[in-house]
């Protein structure tokens, strides 16, 4: 396998491939480093190897931080082990494009994962690595989607799990976590409070907190979104990606996925213009982008987009750098625009997304209206979660005809449907 070591993103100090996440020398975050010098150099053979893999993220195992390769039996049978994620649809959204005055818009619908969000990608990788490292218990600090995924993966693999969430999370996300038999802990506080608590707990327990001590491995799972988009576009890089930003990890890892494959010769061209999407009620990265700053000032979140409500985004500085270097941006939209975004996506593509997807769709609308997008561009809108997780966002946004069961009642209530 090509995975080599952990490396500090700031000072480049090297560490072994263990459950470590912070550089002891400078406190910077650790990231997985690879050595592809002995990898297949024949691009055609590399592509065939990927295409011959299972219909899930393990087809990209060569580019993921697992010592033992994909879990379970080799080849296509791997898709039957655990709760594998990925290979979600990439849909050409002509009706959405037309509405926005654009030519080519694609929607990557990552709600079509086992627990209905992109988090299954990162959790699959983190949990598989946790097992390689000998952990028996998995845990996480979550804004909701991660909670669903960690609880489900624990159940699928027979591992104990502890899930920590802000106590005021959407009911749908709480129910869709507890059902898996996890130990669910609702913390009276914000996600940032939950994250701080878990960072403290992590130091004293022999648990794999997927997004804390396993974070370097976990974060790599997001690269598979870029791999899939490129493969589904016929081994091509899109011109622009619009992606929701909470901690900034997904945003930066999607770019890293395109860049790694370009370095290996699997893709050609520039990194896409990267547009980050935040909610105004929690927009530390968008505010820093607008102000021309290199670091984010933490905020106290207040938004309906709870899955993006991280007030202290640890990958914020990297997200800012990426948006600036690629000619993209990080923009914010308000709660009404988020609801309008959910409706726009639903009514032009048939895809019902949660509030985070409303944020991305609303930012795409904003960019189009502002004239930031060249009409010839190929744009990919990344939808990270399912609308059934945040039903309150659409409650009372439409009317239902309530009638007695008679033809007369129907025709008097809905005059435009009267038969002629």
């Amino acid at each position: 396998m090509a995975v080599s070591h952990l490396e500090c993103k700031e000072c480049k100090a090297e560490y072994p491939l263990e459950a470590l996440y912070v550089c002891e020398r400078c406190f910077g975050p650790l990231e997985v480093a690879y050595d592809h010098s002995r990898s297949q150099r024949d691009v055609g053979a590399l592509r065939r190897r990927i295409q011959g893999g299972p219909q899930n993220i393990w087809r990209y195992a060569d580019f993921l931080p697992l010592a033992g390769g994909p879990p379970g039996p080799s080849g296509r049978l791997a898709s039957r082990v655990g709760l594998p994620a990925g290979c979600t649809p990439l849909i050409r959204a002509d009706r959405l494009a037309e509405r926005l005055g654009l030519r080519e818009v694609w929607v990557k619908n990552d709600a079509a994962n086992p627990t209905h969000s992109f988090k299954d990608r990162v959790v699959s990788v983190a949990v598989t690595r946790a097992r390689e490292l000998g952990f028996e218990t998995i845990a996480c600090a979550s804004t909701g989607n991660l909670a669903n995924s960690v609880a489900a993966h624990g159940a699928a693999l027979g591992m104990d799990s502890y899930v920590f969430i802000p106590a005021d999370l959407e009911e749908q996300k709480i129910l869709a976590t507890g059902v898996y038999g996890t130990k669910l802990v609702g913390v009276r506080g914000s996600y940032d409070d939950v994250n701080r608590l878990c960072t403290e707990l992590c130091a004293e327990r022999d648990w794999a907190f997927v997004n804390i001590n396993l974070r370097p491995y976990y974060a790599e799972g997001s690269k598979t979104l870029a791999f899939e988009i490129a493969e589904q576009l016929g081994w091509e890089i899109p011109d622009r990606c619009v992606i929701p930003v909470a901690s900034g990890s997904l945003f930066t890892k999607i770019a890293k996925g395109f860049q790694e494959w370009t370095e290996l010769g699997l893709l050609e061209g520039e990194t896409p213009k990267m547009n980050g999407a935040q909610a105004e009620g929690c927009s530390p990265v968008a505010s820093a982008f607008a102000a021309g700053q290199a670091v984010c000032r933490p905020v106290k979140p207040d938004t309906i987009a709870k899955s993006l409500a991280i007030g202290n985004p640890a990958d914020g500085p990297y997200a800012l750098e990426l948006a600036r270097n690629t000619g993209g941006s990080v923009d914010a939209v308000n709660d009404d625009e988020i609801r309008a975004g959910i409706a726009l996506l639903a009514q032009t593509t048939g895809i019902f997304t949660e509030t985070a997807g409303g944020v991305s769709t609303a930012v795409l609308s904003k960019l189009a209206a502002r004239g930031d997008i060249d009409p010839d561009e190929r744009v990919v809108l990344v939808i990270t979660g399912d609308g059934l997780k945040t039903l309150d966002a659409v409650r009372d946004t439409f009317e239902t005809y309530k009638i007695d069961p008679s033809v007369e009642a129907f025709e008097s209530s809905v005059p435009e449907a009267v038969a002629v």
Binding site: E10, Y21, V22, C23, E24, R25, C26, F27, G28, P29, K119, V122, C140, A141, S142, T143, N145, L146, Y191, D192, D193, N195, R196, T199, E200, A203, N211, I212, R215, Y218, A219, A246, S247, G248, S249, V295, R297, P298, K300, I310, N312, P313, A314, D315, P317
Partner: protein, 91 residues
């Protein structure tokens, strides 16, 4: 004025293996100075050359991020608890 400072695992090697230290100071800056006085190596690990905290260092006073208070100038009451933690991306 006694202040309890909790030291994260990643910094304990540079703090004689201690997980906490009883220090003094009227502000966060003064308490940190006292910490650096005691464990000299910690200064370069968590602060930049100009004395500001590195961008991945979070400091909490009684659970509240000091950036929501008055930063390094935040007054620290007697008996308070300061926690130093690495910033971690969430999800």
């Amino acid at each position: 004025m006694a202040v309890l400072v909790k030291i994260p695992t990643q910094l304990r090697a540079a703090a004689d293996g201690e997980s906490e230290a009883l220090l003094s100071g009227a502000t966060v800056q003064e308490v940190l100075d006292d910490l650096f006085e005691r464990f000299g190596e910690l200064r370069t690990r968590i602060s930049d050359d100009d004395g500001t905290l590195r961008r991945f260092v979070n400091v909490y006073l009684a659970g509240e991020d000091i950036r929501f208070l008055d930063g390094l100038a935040t007054p620290v009451p007697d008996g308070a608890e300061l926690t130093i933690l690495p910033a971690v991306a969430g999800g």
